[in-house]
Protein backbone atom coordinates (compact mmCIF):
# COMPACT_ATOMS: atom_id res chain seq x y z
CA UNK A 1 0.00 0.00 0.00
CA UNK A 2 1.16 3.52 -0.77
CA UNK A 3 2.33 5.03 2.50
CA UNK A 4 3.97 8.21 3.70
CA UNK A 5 6.96 8.67 5.96
CA UNK A 6 5.74 10.70 8.90
CA UNK A 7 8.65 10.18 11.29
CA UNK A 8 12.34 9.36 11.09
CA UNK A 9 14.19 9.30 14.38
CA UNK A 10 17.87 8.44 14.80
CA UNK A 11 18.27 5.90 17.57
CA UNK A 12 21.70 4.62 18.48
CA UNK A 13 23.05 4.26 14.97
CA UNK A 14 19.69 2.90 13.88
CA UNK A 15 16.68 4.80 12.59
CA UNK A 16 13.09 4.41 13.64
CA UNK A 17 10.88 5.03 10.61
CA UNK A 18 7.21 5.76 11.13
CA UNK A 19 4.98 5.26 8.11
CA UNK A 20 1.38 6.22 7.72
CA UNK A 21 -0.22 3.35 5.82
CA UNK A 22 -3.90 4.02 5.13
CA UNK A 23 -5.89 0.85 5.75
CA UNK A 24 -3.10 -0.90 7.65
CA UNK A 25 -4.79 -4.11 8.80
CA UNK A 26 -2.79 -4.56 12.01
CA UNK A 27 0.12 -6.93 12.44
CA UNK A 28 0.92 -9.88 14.64
CA UNK A 29 4.16 -9.40 16.58
CA UNK A 30 7.04 -10.82 14.55
CA UNK A 31 5.46 -10.19 11.16
CA UNK A 32 7.33 -8.09 8.61
CA UNK A 33 6.69 -5.87 5.63
CA UNK A 34 8.51 -5.21 2.36
CA UNK A 35 9.32 -1.53 2.29
CA UNK A 36 10.54 0.49 -0.68
CA UNK A 37 10.60 4.24 -1.33
CA UNK A 38 8.60 5.19 -4.41
CA UNK A 39 11.69 7.13 -5.54
CA UNK A 40 14.02 4.20 -4.76
CA UNK A 41 16.95 3.55 -7.06
CA UNK A 42 16.90 -0.05 -5.84
CA UNK A 43 15.23 -2.92 -7.63
CA UNK A 44 13.73 -4.66 -4.62
CA UNK A 45 12.09 -3.65 -1.37
CA UNK A 46 13.64 -4.42 1.98
CA UNK A 47 12.10 -6.85 4.46
CA UNK A 48 11.70 -5.05 7.78
CA UNK A 49 10.29 -6.36 11.02
CA UNK A 50 7.25 -4.47 12.26
CA UNK A 51 8.38 -2.75 15.43
CA UNK A 52 5.15 -1.18 16.57
CA UNK A 53 1.84 0.16 15.31
CA UNK A 54 -0.77 2.72 16.31
CA UNK A 55 -3.77 2.48 14.00
CA UNK A 56 -2.50 3.35 10.50
CA UNK A 57 0.93 4.31 11.81
CA UNK A 58 3.60 1.63 11.61
CA UNK A 59 7.13 1.77 13.05
CA UNK A 60 10.18 0.03 11.68
CA UNK A 61 13.62 -0.02 13.26
CA UNK A 62 16.28 0.02 10.54
CA UNK A 63 20.05 -0.33 10.74
CA UNK A 64 21.75 1.42 7.81
CA UNK A 65 24.00 -1.50 6.92
CA UNK A 66 23.66 -1.61 3.13
CA UNK A 67 22.72 0.67 0.25
CA UNK A 68 19.03 -0.15 0.49
CA UNK A 69 18.68 0.39 4.23
CA UNK A 70 20.84 3.55 4.03
CA UNK A 71 18.45 4.89 1.40
CA UNK A 72 15.49 4.21 3.68
CA UNK A 73 17.21 5.80 6.68
CA UNK A 74 17.98 8.94 4.67
CA UNK A 75 14.41 9.46 3.40
CA UNK A 76 12.90 12.83 4.11
CA UNK A 77 9.68 13.02 6.06
CA UNK A 78 6.75 13.19 3.69
CA UNK A 79 8.37 10.75 1.21
CA UNK A 80 6.08 8.24 -0.44
CA UNK A 81 6.87 4.62 0.36
CA UNK A 82 5.42 1.33 -0.84
CA UNK A 83 4.61 -1.06 1.96
CA UNK A 84 3.59 -4.68 1.34
CA UNK A 85 2.46 -6.28 4.55
CA UNK A 86 2.02 -7.44 7.16
CA UNK A 87 3.61 -10.66 5.87
CA UNK A 88 4.75 -13.98 7.30
CA UNK A 89 3.99 -15.78 10.51
CA UNK A 90 4.64 -13.88 13.71
CA UNK A 91 5.41 -15.16 17.19
CA UNK A 92 3.08 -17.85 18.45
CA UNK A 93 1.49 -15.75 21.20
CA UNK A 94 -0.70 -18.55 22.46
CA UNK A 95 2.29 -20.75 23.16
CA UNK A 96 4.64 -18.02 24.36
CA UNK A 97 2.11 -16.37 26.64
CA UNK A 98 0.08 -19.35 27.79
CA UNK A 99 0.95 -18.46 31.38
CA UNK A 100 2.78 -21.67 32.11
CA UNK A 101 6.17 -19.98 32.38
CA UNK A 102 8.07 -16.74 32.45
CA UNK A 103 8.44 -15.03 29.06
CA UNK A 104 11.96 -13.99 28.12
CA UNK A 105 12.63 -11.76 25.13
CA UNK A 106 16.19 -11.98 23.85
CA UNK A 107 17.41 -9.40 21.35
CA UNK A 108 20.77 -8.54 19.84
CA UNK A 109 21.38 -5.23 18.02
CA UNK A 110 18.68 -4.48 15.47
CA UNK A 111 17.10 -7.74 16.63
CA UNK A 112 15.20 -5.72 19.20
CA UNK A 113 13.01 -4.46 16.34
CA UNK A 114 9.90 -6.66 16.85
CA UNK A 115 9.86 -6.36 20.64
CA UNK A 116 7.79 -3.21 21.30
CA UNK A 117 4.82 -4.73 19.44
CA UNK A 118 5.41 -8.12 21.05
CA UNK A 119 5.57 -6.60 24.53
CA UNK A 120 2.30 -4.81 24.03
CA UNK A 121 0.67 -8.20 23.32
CA UNK A 122 2.10 -9.87 26.43
CA UNK A 123 -0.19 -8.53 29.07
CA UNK A 124 -0.30 -8.97 32.84
CA UNK A 125 -0.26 -11.24 34.81
CA UNK A 126 2.60 -12.65 32.72
CA UNK A 127 6.09 -12.24 34.06
CA UNK A 128 8.28 -10.83 31.28
CA UNK A 129 12.05 -10.47 31.24
CA UNK A 130 13.68 -8.53 28.38
CA UNK A 131 17.39 -9.23 27.75
CA UNK A 132 19.14 -7.05 25.20
CA UNK A 133 22.70 -7.00 23.93
CA UNK A 134 24.42 -4.27 21.94
CA UNK A 135 27.80 -3.70 20.37
CA UNK A 136 28.45 -0.41 22.16
CA UNK A 137 26.82 2.28 24.25
CA UNK A 138 25.71 4.23 21.17
CA UNK A 139 23.84 1.25 19.72
CA UNK A 140 22.33 0.56 23.14
CA UNK A 141 20.59 3.94 23.05
CA UNK A 142 18.43 2.35 20.32
CA UNK A 143 16.65 0.48 23.09
CA UNK A 144 15.15 3.70 24.43
CA UNK A 145 11.62 3.22 23.00
CA UNK A 146 11.58 -0.31 24.36
CA UNK A 147 12.75 0.93 27.76
CA UNK A 148 9.84 3.39 27.78
CA UNK A 149 7.42 0.58 26.95
CA UNK A 150 8.79 -1.50 29.81
CA UNK A 151 8.46 1.44 32.23
CA UNK A 152 4.87 1.98 31.12
CA UNK A 153 4.03 -1.69 31.59
CA UNK A 154 5.60 -1.63 35.07
CA UNK A 155 3.45 1.37 36.01
CA UNK A 156 0.43 -0.56 34.79
CA UNK A 157 1.34 -3.29 37.22
CA UNK A 158 3.06 -5.77 34.91
CA UNK A 159 5.96 -7.83 36.18
CA UNK A 160 8.25 -6.68 33.39
CA UNK A 161 11.99 -6.12 33.74
CA UNK A 162 14.71 -5.09 31.29
CA UNK A 163 18.43 -5.84 31.33
CA UNK A 164 20.91 -4.48 28.81
CA UNK A 165 24.47 -5.62 28.24
CA UNK A 166 27.14 -4.05 26.07
CA UNK A 167 29.92 -5.96 24.33
CA UNK A 168 32.62 -3.31 24.10
CA UNK A 169 34.19 -1.58 27.06
CA UNK A 170 36.42 -2.40 29.96
CA UNK A 171 33.83 -2.58 32.69
CA UNK A 172 33.28 -5.89 34.39
CA UNK A 173 29.70 -5.70 33.23
CA UNK A 174 30.71 -5.93 29.55
CA UNK A 175 29.54 -9.03 27.76
CA UNK A 176 27.11 -10.59 25.36
CA UNK A 177 23.39 -11.05 25.62
CA UNK A 178 24.02 -14.78 25.72
CA UNK A 179 25.85 -14.19 29.03
CA UNK A 180 22.64 -12.70 30.40
CA UNK A 181 20.65 -15.61 29.04
CA UNK A 182 23.01 -18.10 30.67
CA UNK A 183 22.67 -16.35 34.02
CA UNK A 184 18.92 -15.86 33.92
CA UNK A 185 17.44 -18.84 32.12
CA UNK A 186 15.58 -21.41 34.13
CA UNK A 187 13.34 -24.36 33.29
CA UNK A 188 9.82 -23.42 32.26
CA UNK A 189 10.87 -20.21 30.47
CA UNK A 190 9.37 -19.33 27.08
CA UNK A 191 11.71 -17.37 24.82
CA UNK A 192 11.20 -15.04 21.88
CA UNK A 193 14.55 -14.44 20.21
CA UNK A 194 15.68 -12.07 17.47
CA UNK A 195 19.25 -11.26 16.51
CA UNK A 196 22.32 -12.49 14.63
CA UNK A 197 22.46 -16.17 13.73
CA UNK A 198 25.43 -16.94 15.99
CA UNK A 199 23.57 -15.40 18.93
CA UNK A 200 20.43 -17.36 18.10
CA UNK A 201 22.30 -20.66 17.91
CA UNK A 202 23.99 -20.01 21.25
CA UNK A 203 20.66 -19.12 22.85
CA UNK A 204 19.17 -22.38 21.60
CA UNK A 205 22.17 -24.32 22.96
CA UNK A 206 21.54 -22.73 26.36
CA UNK A 207 17.84 -23.62 26.13
CA UNK A 208 18.68 -27.27 25.51
CA UNK A 209 21.22 -27.23 28.33
CA UNK A 210 18.70 -25.75 30.77
CA UNK A 211 15.93 -28.10 29.71
CA UNK A 212 12.18 -27.57 29.61
CA UNK A 213 12.59 -24.27 27.78
CA UNK A 214 10.74 -23.45 24.59
CA UNK A 215 12.02 -20.79 22.23
CA UNK A 216 10.89 -19.13 19.04
CA UNK A 217 13.36 -17.42 16.74
CA UNK A 218 12.71 -14.61 14.30
CA UNK A 219 15.06 -15.09 11.33
CA UNK A 220 16.27 -12.76 8.66
CA UNK A 221 17.14 -13.20 4.97
CA UNK A 222 17.45 -11.21 1.78
CA UNK A 223 14.06 -11.28 0.14
CA UNK A 224 12.73 -10.60 -3.31
CA UNK A 225 8.96 -11.25 -3.28
CA UNK A 226 8.21 -11.61 0.45
CA UNK A 227 5.15 -13.75 -0.30
CA UNK A 228 6.53 -17.22 -0.96
CA UNK A 229 6.80 -17.08 -4.74
CA UNK A 230 10.51 -17.05 -5.45
CA UNK A 231 12.11 -19.33 -2.80
CA UNK A 232 14.97 -16.85 -2.59
CA UNK A 233 14.97 -16.31 1.18
CA UNK A 234 15.35 -19.87 2.41
CA UNK A 235 17.29 -20.99 5.46
CA UNK A 236 18.48 -24.52 6.16
CA UNK A 237 16.42 -26.06 8.94
CA UNK A 238 17.01 -29.00 11.24
CA UNK A 239 15.46 -31.71 9.04
CA UNK A 240 17.86 -30.91 6.20
CA UNK A 241 15.30 -29.11 4.08
CA UNK A 242 15.04 -25.42 3.34
CA UNK A 243 12.28 -23.20 4.64
CA UNK A 244 11.23 -19.84 3.23
CA UNK A 245 11.77 -17.13 5.83
CA UNK A 246 8.91 -15.13 4.28
CA UNK A 247 6.34 -17.91 4.11
CA UNK A 248 7.08 -20.60 6.69
CA UNK A 249 8.72 -17.94 8.91
CA UNK A 250 10.08 -15.47 9.78
CA UNK A 251 9.44 -16.95 13.24
CA UNK A 252 10.41 -20.59 13.71
CA UNK A 253 10.36 -22.84 16.76
CA UNK A 254 13.88 -23.57 18.02
CA UNK A 255 13.54 -27.32 17.53
CA UNK A 256 12.35 -26.84 13.96
CA UNK A 257 15.24 -24.64 12.87
CA UNK A 258 18.15 -25.79 15.06
CA UNK A 259 17.04 -29.30 16.08
CA UNK A 260 17.94 -30.98 19.34
Amino acid sequence: MLSRLVGSEALGGMVRLTLESPGWPGAKPGQFALVQAVSSRHFLGRALSIADERGDEVDFLVAPIGDGTRELCALAEGSEVWVLGPLGNGFDLESIGDGSGRVVLVGGGTGIAPFPLLLSHLSAPLEVLVLLGFRDAEQASGAEPLRRTVTRLQKEGSRCTLEVIIEEGSSKAAGKVTDLVERQLHPGDRLAVCGPEAMAREVWRLCLKTGNVEAWFSLEANMACGVGSCHGCVVAIADGSYARVCHEGPVFAGKEVFGG
Partner: protein
Protein backbone atom coordinates in the same frame (compact mmCIF):
# COMPACT_ATOMS: atom_id res chain seq x y z
CA UNK B 1 -0.76 -19.07 -28.65
CA UNK B 2 -1.17 -22.53 -30.17
CA UNK B 3 -4.39 -24.05 -28.85
CA UNK B 4 -4.39 -21.71 -25.81
CA UNK B 5 -6.51 -18.58 -26.04
CA UNK B 6 -5.03 -15.76 -23.99
CA UNK B 7 -7.12 -12.73 -23.00
CA UNK B 8 -4.06 -10.51 -23.21
CA UNK B 9 -0.39 -11.11 -24.08
CA UNK B 10 1.09 -10.92 -20.58
CA UNK B 11 2.10 -14.01 -18.63
CA UNK B 12 4.62 -14.68 -15.86
CA UNK B 13 8.06 -16.20 -16.09
CA UNK B 14 8.27 -19.58 -14.34
CA UNK B 15 9.40 -19.38 -10.74
CA UNK B 16 8.46 -15.76 -10.16
CA UNK B 17 4.79 -16.09 -9.21
CA UNK B 18 3.16 -18.56 -6.85
CA UNK B 19 -0.51 -17.63 -6.94
CA UNK B 20 -1.43 -19.85 -4.00
CA UNK B 21 1.33 -18.53 -1.74
CA UNK B 22 0.44 -15.00 -2.84
CA UNK B 23 -3.23 -15.55 -2.04
CA UNK B 24 -2.31 -16.83 1.40
CA UNK B 25 0.05 -13.93 2.11
CA UNK B 26 -2.05 -11.12 0.68
CA UNK B 27 -5.52 -11.48 -0.83
CA UNK B 28 -7.47 -14.62 -1.92
CA UNK B 29 -8.82 -12.51 -4.82
CA UNK B 30 -5.67 -13.24 -6.82
CA UNK B 31 -6.99 -16.78 -7.37
CA UNK B 32 -10.29 -15.56 -8.81
CA UNK B 33 -8.75 -12.87 -10.96
CA UNK B 34 -5.08 -13.65 -11.67
CA UNK B 35 -3.27 -10.77 -13.36
CA UNK B 36 -1.63 -13.08 -15.89
CA UNK B 37 -3.34 -14.28 -19.09
CA UNK B 38 -1.84 -17.72 -18.58
CA UNK B 39 -0.22 -18.99 -15.42
CA UNK B 40 3.20 -20.61 -15.48
CA UNK B 41 3.80 -22.41 -12.15
CA UNK B 42 7.27 -23.12 -10.83
CA UNK B 43 9.30 -25.67 -12.77
CA UNK B 44 8.62 -29.30 -11.81
CA UNK B 45 11.33 -31.95 -11.81
CA UNK B 46 10.89 -35.72 -11.89
CA UNK B 47 12.42 -36.44 -8.47
CA UNK B 48 11.98 -34.14 -5.48
CA UNK B 49 14.72 -31.52 -5.11
CA UNK B 50 15.48 -29.18 -2.22
CA UNK B 51 17.25 -26.61 -4.40
CA UNK B 52 20.50 -24.77 -3.81
CA UNK B 53 21.97 -23.84 -0.43
CA UNK B 54 21.40 -20.24 0.68
CA UNK B 55 22.08 -17.46 0.14
CA UNK B 56 20.12 -17.69 -3.07
CA UNK B 57 19.48 -14.12 -4.13
CA UNK B 58 21.11 -10.71 -4.14
CA UNK B 59 19.98 -7.41 -5.55
CA UNK B 60 22.26 -6.05 -8.26
CA UNK B 61 22.23 -2.72 -10.11
CA UNK B 62 18.91 -2.61 -11.99
CA UNK B 63 18.14 -6.20 -11.21
CA UNK B 64 18.96 -9.23 -9.15
CA UNK B 65 20.85 -12.48 -9.31
CA UNK B 66 19.44 -15.79 -8.16
CA UNK B 67 20.54 -19.35 -7.73
CA UNK B 68 17.38 -21.00 -6.48
CA UNK B 69 18.25 -24.33 -8.08
CA UNK B 70 14.84 -25.69 -9.05
CA UNK B 71 13.41 -26.84 -5.73
CA UNK B 72 10.50 -29.09 -6.60
CA UNK B 73 8.22 -31.52 -4.85
CA UNK B 74 8.75 -33.89 -7.76
CA UNK B 75 6.27 -35.11 -10.36
CA UNK B 76 4.40 -37.57 -8.17
CA UNK B 77 3.53 -35.07 -5.45
CA UNK B 78 2.90 -32.35 -8.04
CA UNK B 79 0.29 -34.49 -9.78
CA UNK B 80 -1.30 -35.65 -6.53
CA UNK B 81 -1.31 -32.39 -4.59
CA UNK B 82 -0.84 -29.46 -6.97
CA UNK B 83 -2.32 -30.16 -10.37
CA UNK B 84 -5.93 -30.23 -9.21
CA UNK B 85 -5.90 -26.77 -7.70
CA UNK B 86 -3.95 -25.42 -10.68
CA UNK B 87 -6.68 -26.70 -13.01
CA UNK B 88 -9.27 -24.90 -10.88
CA UNK B 89 -7.72 -21.51 -11.73
CA UNK B 90 -9.62 -19.42 -14.27
CA UNK B 91 -6.63 -19.20 -16.62
CA UNK B 92 -4.84 -21.49 -19.05
CA UNK B 93 -1.75 -23.12 -17.57
CA UNK B 94 1.70 -23.53 -19.03
CA UNK B 95 3.38 -26.20 -16.92
CA UNK B 96 7.15 -25.89 -16.75
CA UNK B 97 9.31 -28.99 -16.52
CA UNK B 98 13.05 -29.57 -16.24
CA UNK B 99 14.91 -32.84 -16.58
CA UNK B 100 18.45 -33.98 -16.17
CA UNK B 101 18.30 -36.29 -19.18
CA UNK B 102 16.13 -36.85 -22.24
CA UNK B 103 14.43 -39.72 -20.45
CA UNK B 104 13.43 -37.46 -17.57
CA UNK B 105 11.80 -34.91 -19.89
CA UNK B 106 9.85 -37.71 -21.54
CA UNK B 107 8.82 -39.18 -18.18
CA UNK B 108 7.64 -35.76 -16.99
CA UNK B 109 5.69 -35.00 -20.15
CA UNK B 110 4.05 -38.40 -20.35
CA UNK B 111 3.31 -38.39 -16.62
CA UNK B 112 1.60 -35.03 -16.88
CA UNK B 113 -0.29 -36.07 -20.00
CA UNK B 114 -1.57 -39.17 -18.29
CA UNK B 115 -2.71 -37.17 -15.28
CA UNK B 116 -4.44 -34.59 -17.48
CA UNK B 117 -6.13 -37.29 -19.60
CA UNK B 118 -7.50 -38.80 -16.41
CA UNK B 119 -8.60 -35.47 -14.96
CA UNK B 120 -10.08 -33.86 -18.04
CA UNK B 121 -10.43 -36.39 -20.88
CA UNK B 122 -9.15 -35.01 -24.18
CA UNK B 123 -10.39 -31.51 -23.45
CA UNK B 124 -7.30 -30.25 -21.74
CA UNK B 125 -5.20 -29.21 -24.71
CA UNK B 126 -7.06 -25.90 -24.89
CA UNK B 127 -6.32 -25.30 -21.19
CA UNK B 128 -2.82 -26.63 -20.56
CA UNK B 129 0.50 -26.16 -22.32
CA UNK B 130 3.99 -27.36 -21.51
CA UNK B 131 7.19 -25.36 -21.23
CA UNK B 132 10.46 -27.25 -21.46
CA UNK B 133 12.94 -25.54 -19.20
CA UNK B 134 16.16 -26.44 -20.98
CA UNK B 135 17.84 -23.31 -19.71
CA UNK B 136 18.15 -23.10 -15.91
CA UNK B 137 21.71 -21.85 -15.25
CA UNK B 138 21.72 -23.02 -11.62
CA UNK B 139 21.81 -26.79 -11.90
CA UNK B 140 24.85 -28.80 -12.74
CA UNK B 141 23.76 -31.40 -15.25
CA UNK B 142 21.11 -31.89 -17.92
CA UNK B 143 18.73 -29.00 -18.37
CA UNK B 144 20.84 -26.09 -19.61
CA UNK B 145 23.50 -28.34 -21.07
CA UNK B 146 20.76 -29.81 -23.26
CA UNK B 147 19.49 -26.35 -24.16
CA UNK B 148 23.00 -25.18 -25.07
CA UNK B 149 23.33 -27.70 -27.87
CA UNK B 150 21.13 -27.60 -30.99
CA UNK B 151 21.30 -31.34 -31.52
CA UNK B 152 20.36 -32.23 -27.93
CA UNK B 153 17.62 -29.60 -27.97
CA UNK B 154 16.18 -31.13 -31.13
CA UNK B 155 16.28 -34.62 -29.61
CA UNK B 156 14.58 -33.61 -26.35
CA UNK B 157 11.90 -31.45 -27.99
CA UNK B 158 11.29 -34.17 -30.59
CA UNK B 159 11.01 -36.87 -27.94
CA UNK B 160 8.59 -34.87 -25.80
CA UNK B 161 6.58 -33.89 -28.90
CA UNK B 162 5.65 -37.55 -29.38
CA UNK B 163 4.05 -37.68 -25.93
CA UNK B 164 2.61 -34.19 -25.67
CA UNK B 165 -0.36 -33.23 -27.87
CA UNK B 166 -0.82 -29.73 -26.40
CA UNK B 167 1.08 -26.47 -26.69
CA UNK B 168 4.82 -27.13 -26.44
CA UNK B 169 7.18 -24.25 -25.64
CA UNK B 170 10.97 -24.52 -25.47
CA UNK B 171 12.46 -22.02 -23.02
CA UNK B 172 15.88 -21.02 -24.23
CA UNK B 173 19.06 -19.95 -22.50
CA UNK B 174 20.83 -16.79 -23.64
CA UNK B 175 24.15 -18.26 -22.48
CA UNK B 176 25.02 -19.58 -25.95
CA UNK B 177 26.85 -18.21 -28.97
CA UNK B 178 23.84 -18.47 -31.28
CA UNK B 179 20.41 -18.57 -29.68
CA UNK B 180 18.69 -18.62 -33.07
CA UNK B 181 20.37 -21.94 -33.86
CA UNK B 182 18.86 -23.43 -30.70
CA UNK B 183 15.49 -21.89 -31.56
CA UNK B 184 15.59 -23.38 -35.05
CA UNK B 185 16.42 -26.79 -33.59
CA UNK B 186 13.42 -26.57 -31.25
CA UNK B 187 11.18 -25.53 -34.13
CA UNK B 188 12.39 -28.35 -36.36
CA UNK B 189 11.61 -30.81 -33.60
CA UNK B 190 8.04 -29.60 -33.35
CA UNK B 191 7.98 -26.87 -30.67
CA UNK B 192 4.92 -24.64 -31.03
CA UNK B 193 6.73 -21.67 -29.54
CA UNK B 194 10.05 -20.63 -28.09
CA UNK B 195 10.50 -18.58 -24.92
CA UNK B 196 13.50 -16.29 -24.58
CA UNK B 197 15.32 -15.63 -22.41
CA UNK B 198 16.12 -17.42 -19.18
CA UNK B 199 18.62 -15.61 -16.95
CA UNK B 200 22.19 -14.68 -17.84
CA UNK B 201 24.82 -16.58 -15.90
CA UNK B 202 26.65 -14.25 -13.54
CA UNK B 203 28.62 -13.97 -10.34
CA UNK B 204 28.43 -11.69 -7.31
CA UNK B 205 30.91 -11.44 -4.48
CA UNK B 206 30.40 -10.77 -0.82
CA UNK B 207 31.36 -7.12 -0.41
CA UNK B 208 33.59 -7.73 2.58
CA UNK B 209 35.08 -11.20 2.15
CA UNK B 210 35.37 -10.83 -1.66
CA UNK B 211 34.31 -14.43 -2.06
CA UNK B 212 31.35 -15.69 -4.08
CA UNK B 213 28.18 -14.60 -2.30
CA UNK B 214 25.68 -17.18 -3.54
CA UNK B 215 25.55 -20.68 -2.10
CA UNK B 216 25.74 -22.01 -5.64
CA UNK B 217 28.73 -19.72 -6.49
CA UNK B 218 27.20 -18.52 -9.78
CA UNK B 219 23.64 -17.46 -10.46
CA UNK B 220 21.31 -16.07 -13.09
CA UNK B 221 21.02 -12.33 -13.64
CA UNK B 222 17.62 -10.82 -14.32
CA UNK B 223 15.81 -7.51 -14.17
CA UNK B 224 15.97 -4.32 -16.25
CA UNK B 225 19.76 -4.67 -16.48
CA UNK B 226 19.38 -7.54 -18.97
CA UNK B 227 16.65 -6.03 -21.16
CA UNK B 228 18.90 -4.99 -24.07
CA UNK B 229 20.53 -8.43 -24.04
CA UNK B 230 17.15 -10.14 -24.06
CA UNK B 231 15.82 -7.87 -26.82
CA UNK B 232 18.78 -8.82 -28.98
CA UNK B 233 18.00 -12.51 -28.42
CA UNK B 234 14.33 -12.07 -29.35
CA UNK B 235 15.28 -9.99 -32.39
CA UNK B 236 17.63 -12.68 -33.67
CA UNK B 237 15.13 -15.46 -33.03
CA UNK B 238 12.42 -13.64 -34.94
CA UNK B 239 14.67 -13.48 -37.98
CA UNK B 240 15.27 -17.23 -37.94
CA UNK B 241 12.19 -18.98 -36.53
CA UNK B 242 8.57 -18.74 -37.55
CA UNK B 243 6.84 -20.10 -34.43
CA UNK B 244 5.60 -17.55 -31.86
CA UNK B 245 8.13 -16.14 -29.42
CA UNK B 246 7.46 -15.57 -25.72
CA UNK B 247 9.73 -12.65 -24.91
CA UNK B 248 11.10 -11.92 -21.48
CA UNK B 249 14.09 -10.45 -19.69
CA UNK B 250 13.81 -7.28 -17.64
CA UNK B 251 10.19 -6.43 -18.46
CA UNK B 252 8.97 -3.79 -16.01
CA UNK B 253 7.04 -1.17 -18.02
CA UNK B 254 4.59 -0.86 -20.91
CA UNK B 255 7.47 0.52 -22.99
CA UNK B 256 9.38 -2.73 -22.36
CA UNK B 257 6.44 -4.75 -23.69
CA UNK B 258 6.24 -2.61 -26.80
CA UNK B 259 9.95 -3.18 -27.41
CA UNK B 260 9.79 -6.95 -26.91
CA UNK B 261 6.81 -7.16 -29.25
CA UNK B 262 8.49 -4.93 -31.80
CA UNK B 263 11.48 -7.28 -31.72
CA UNK B 264 9.15 -10.18 -32.42
CA UNK B 265 7.57 -11.46 -29.21
CA UNK B 266 3.89 -12.38 -29.50
CA UNK B 267 3.56 -13.01 -25.78
CA UNK B 268 5.59 -11.24 -23.10
CA UNK B 269 6.44 -12.62 -19.66
CA UNK B 270 7.00 -10.62 -16.51
CA UNK B 271 9.77 -12.04 -14.35
CA UNK B 272 11.76 -10.42 -11.56
CA UNK B 273 9.91 -7.11 -11.71
CA UNK B 274 6.82 -9.11 -10.84
CA UNK B 275 8.49 -10.16 -7.60
CA UNK B 276 8.18 -6.67 -6.15
CA UNK B 277 4.70 -6.15 -7.61
CA UNK B 278 2.90 -9.44 -8.11
CA UNK B 279 0.02 -7.85 -10.02
CA UNK B 280 2.36 -6.17 -12.51
CA UNK B 281 1.30 -8.32 -15.49
CA UNK B 282 -2.28 -7.09 -15.19
CA UNK B 283 -1.25 -3.46 -14.84
CA UNK B 284 0.98 -3.72 -17.90
CA UNK B 285 -1.74 -5.48 -19.93
CA UNK B 286 -4.08 -2.56 -19.28
CA UNK B 287 -1.35 -0.12 -20.24
CA UNK B 288 -0.66 -2.01 -23.44
CA UNK B 289 -4.38 -2.00 -24.29
CA UNK B 290 -4.54 1.77 -23.80
CA UNK B 291 -1.46 2.30 -25.93
CA UNK B 292 -2.94 0.28 -28.79
CA UNK B 293 -6.33 2.02 -28.47
CA UNK B 294 -4.80 5.49 -28.51
CA UNK B 295 -2.96 4.74 -31.71
CA UNK B 296 -5.71 2.68 -33.32
CA UNK B 297 -3.03 0.00 -33.63
CA UNK B 298 -3.15 -3.76 -33.13
CA UNK B 299 -0.91 -6.46 -31.73
CA UNK B 300 -0.49 -7.85 -35.24
CA UNK B 301 0.96 -4.53 -36.37
CA UNK B 302 3.20 -4.24 -33.36
CA UNK B 303 4.78 -7.71 -33.41
CA UNK B 304 7.98 -7.61 -35.46
CA UNK B 305 7.76 -3.89 -36.15
CA UNK B 306 11.48 -3.43 -35.42
CA UNK B 307 12.29 -5.64 -38.41
CA UNK B 308 10.30 -3.63 -40.95
CA UNK B 309 12.37 -1.65 -43.42
CA UNK B 310 12.09 2.04 -42.74
Amino acid sequence: MGPLRLKHPLINAAGTLDLFALAEATDPCVLREPSVAAYVPKTVTLAPRVGNPPPRILETPEGMINAIGLPSEGLEVFVAAELGRLLSLPRPLILSIAGFSLAEYVALASGLRQALDQAMGQEWTTRVGLELNISCPNVHSGCVSIGSDPKETEEVVGAVREFWPGLLVAKLTPNVADIAAIGRAAERAGADAVAAVNTFKGLVLDRVSLRPYLGNISGGLSGPAIKPLALRAVYELYEKVSVPIVGMGGVATVQDILEFMACGARVVAVGSAGLRDQSLAGTLALGLGSWLDERGSSLAELVGLAHASA
